[in-house]
Symmetry: C2
Subunit: 344 residues, 2 copies
């Protein structure tokens, strides 16, 4: 009773072990009548296949791995939830694997991870997904994976991947700001290791060019994806003799930092300086004023990536299959007060 095996099921259904196995894996070559017999027996015994045995014989793994190196908990959680929703649907477990993408040994670590935990594949978030060397090692070791990356075209190299079109989104944000009457617009970078940051920068540049606004190097500041970075950079901007009237920030945290700096200098957002973020973190809605930002459908993207990966891994069951290797997702502009010029 504690543990029904295929043997028990076979006995009860009066068929061979192999036939039961066939039914379980719904192989097509079993007569309908027997299928029913077996299924009833399975039902009656409450039989559950033994994972270990199955994996041993078929050399398949236990779960998928989710690899990331990202300081933003909101982002990670969305990612996890997206991946998990599909894993559950498909009967996979999900193991998480945060890591430092700048560690030297990371590629080997990932290979180890897969072997040691018998994972069937990896879903890899940026920026790990954007490191060509790591990807190469994975491919060399025949590890199934799918990456989530920033960027729209060029990087077919990194396939298979899900792409987030940060560039367009950033362009759209910037154009929104321009349409609010600004022409002196600063840009705050995040880390360069995250490819999203250069992409977002490109989008900013695109928008300026389209509207014939010249780039002003003095208004473009390097930094990290952090509150403090935004704070510090905003102070620098405030110290300029000729201040910009808007700042496009690479993410919400930077924007929050910038906003704090501006307020503590006695100025106001958006009247004195307009601010935009990127990511739509919960706090962007709660800041005062609420923050204009771009919302990535992180959960959806992670879900798509996971679905793609599982399809890739699975013994091509009939129709499913044939999804694209590269899918593109476009973040959505969310306009809030932090960029809305008071009506004249």
């Amino acid at each position: 009773m504690t543990k029904a095996t295929i043997k028990d099921v076979a006995k009860l259904a009066n068929v061979s072990l192999k036939t039961v196995s066939r039914v379980i894996n719904n192989e097509p070559t079993v007569r309908a009548a027997k299928v029913k017999l077996v299924q009833d027996a399975i039902q009656k015994l409450g039989y559950k296949p033994n994972l270990a045995a199955r994996n041993l014989r078929s050399s398949k793994g236990y779960a998928l791995g989710l690899v990331y190196d990202n300081p933003n908990p909101y982002y990670i959680i969305d990612m996890q939830n997206g991946a998990l929703s599909i894993c559950r649907e498909m009967g996979y477990g999900l193991q998480i694997h945060p890591c430092r993408s700048d560690a030297l040994s990371i590629a080997d670590n990932l290979v180890q991870l897969v072997k040691n935990n018998d994972l069937s594949g990896l879903v890899i978030a940026p920026p790990v997904s954007e490191r060509a060397d790591i990807i190469a090692v994975l491919k060399a070791n025949n590890i199934h994976f799918v990456g989530i990356v920033s960027g729209s075209e060029e990087d077919k190299t990194l396939s298979p991947c899900m792409c987030v079109d940060d560039r367009s989104a950033s362009r759209i944000i910037t154009e929104h700001i321009i349409s609010e009457g600004h022409s002196e617009i600063a840009f705050f970078w995040g880390e360069e290791v995250h490819k999203s940051s250069p992409e977002r920068y490109k989008g900013y540049v695109d928008a300026l060019q389209t509207h014939g606004i010249a780039l002003n190097e003095a208004l473009i500041l390097q930094g990290q994806y952090s509150f403090d970075s935004g704070y510090v950079n905003a102070q620098k901007i405030l110290a300029l003799k000729h201040r910009p009237t808007a700042i496009v920030c690479s993410n919400d945290e930077i924007a929050a930092g910038a906003m704090a700096a501006i307020k503590s200098a006695g100025l106001s957002v958006p009247t004195d300086i307009a601010i935009s973020g990127f990511e739509d973190s919960p706090f962007s809605r709660h800041s005062s004023p609420p923050m204009t930002t771009a919302k990535q459908a992180t959960e959806t993207i992670a879900a798509s990536a996971t679905k793609f990966l599982i399809n890739k891994i699975r013994p091509i069951s009939q129709e499913e299959r044939g999804e694209e290797t590269v899918m593109i997702f476009s973040p959505e502009l969310i306009v809030r007060q932090s960029t809305l010029s008071p009506s004249p």
Copy 2:
């Protein structure tokens, strides 16, 4: 080369399969000389045990599950990282399992989860860990687990568990506020399903009693662990003809909401009303003014829980063992401007 097995190792080391197995599982009854032989062979071949085979034969699982139902990403991430640090050290994988603690089927789901994914045990965060019915089912199904709960004594029932002493921490926060000269102090609850909230309430009451301050029902408001709840409740408080001079909030998000409401009513924190939170979320440091709060060592707690669980699961290897069934952790008071009365 692709895959070395025990057999290969045995051949190279010129010993039997079983001896190799013994070395791998460091069983004590192998002569040092042979151990060395075998280890060298393992080294040379780059041998890695096959998880599936091992699990099949020994009917053990190879990953732990982390179960939680908590809307706070910072908390979850800390939990995950704490658990993961130990898992890695001990060679376990970690599967995550967020869930709705109010779902009826949750206990069964957990049992399924363990069976389907061959998990060796569960680390369970509140509030799931606090539901006696779920715990009972787990015990009935012989599933190894450890819970993380709020509360200091009474609940030996829920053992094995790691306890967070929310009550004392809340008392300490409240006493700090009293020592700043307040005596009209409101309290904002979180959800009652989280046992942390009643515990924190008790701590608040303890402090008032100790200092001979009478409880004022009008200042005690139900709510949820959310920004909006804090906002709404603060508005209610502000509408009172006799306003309190401080609010003790059940967590940081509530506090952030309350702070926002107070500011948008044109009042100031802490001059008009002092505010305290609980949890030390990153944004509590970045709010203006920065927020007094209590910091839970979430990562440490999760790590301890995980270590405990693994010790429990493992074939008692010599010395290790004998940890307590109930461990208590005390959050630490962090004083920031939101409760500091301006010096007179």
